[in-house]
Amino acid sequence: MARTFDYPQAEEIRDALARHGVRYLFLGKSGAILLGFPDTTQDADLFVEKTAANSRAAVAALRELGFALTDAQAAEIEGGKDFVQLRNGPFDVDLVFAPDGIESFARAWERHVEVEGFPVCHPDDIIASKAAANRVRDRETLPRLRAFRDYWLRQRRS
């Protein structure tokens, strides 16, 4: 099935997660794109704080957005998975509860960046998670992503 993830949908997910009080951050390429990184991706990676209450809130928000989560799947997410891949909603989302290379959600939250209301990991955390994952696709992206981080920091200082 051809699927898109357009900007109004991004606003919907942002607003639904906010309504439910979910603590999360955009991570990965989708996070970098929010910061201004010109590249392509196919899904959104959401780094969700791993607590039972937060996971419950995330499940409620995702169901509101149209993700067809069964009760068993919801229970799994609420029970504490590290990684959940969702292809059962209006767009593709990966829920990452324990990304490689990032010490803790609290540490990432301390230095996160807001872009038009979207909470986004600091580029150093996006880079750290890709460097730790060290997949072929990460190694291909990292040199350009590091150059973007340096550019982004220069723009922030000026």
Binding site: R3, Q42, D100
Partner: protein, 71 residues
């Protein structure tokens, strides 16, 4: 021959061009869906640990998708 400095200069030009576009436009250019075999064939997957997910990718996905450590 292109040098690292040339490459960085080219990237910075791309970053500057992107910075001139509103987020809505950048988003539209960024999200392009193409079918990924195996990965897109299940509506839901979950893993207890990231290491389990990485191992699953290595074992189950075509290497050319780039989700493993080697092509």
């Amino acid at each position: 021959m292109s040098t690292a400095a040339d490459q960085t200069h080219e990237w910075v030009a791309e970053f500057e061009a992107a910075a001139r576009r509103p987020l809505r436009t950048r988003w539209r250019y960024a999200f392009i869906h193409t079918y990924k075999p195996v990965l897109d064939d299940a509506a839901y997957r979950s893993f207890d640990a990231m290491a389990d997910y990485r191992a699953w990718c290595e074992t189950n996905l075509p290497s050319w998708l780039g989700y493993g450590q080697d092509v």
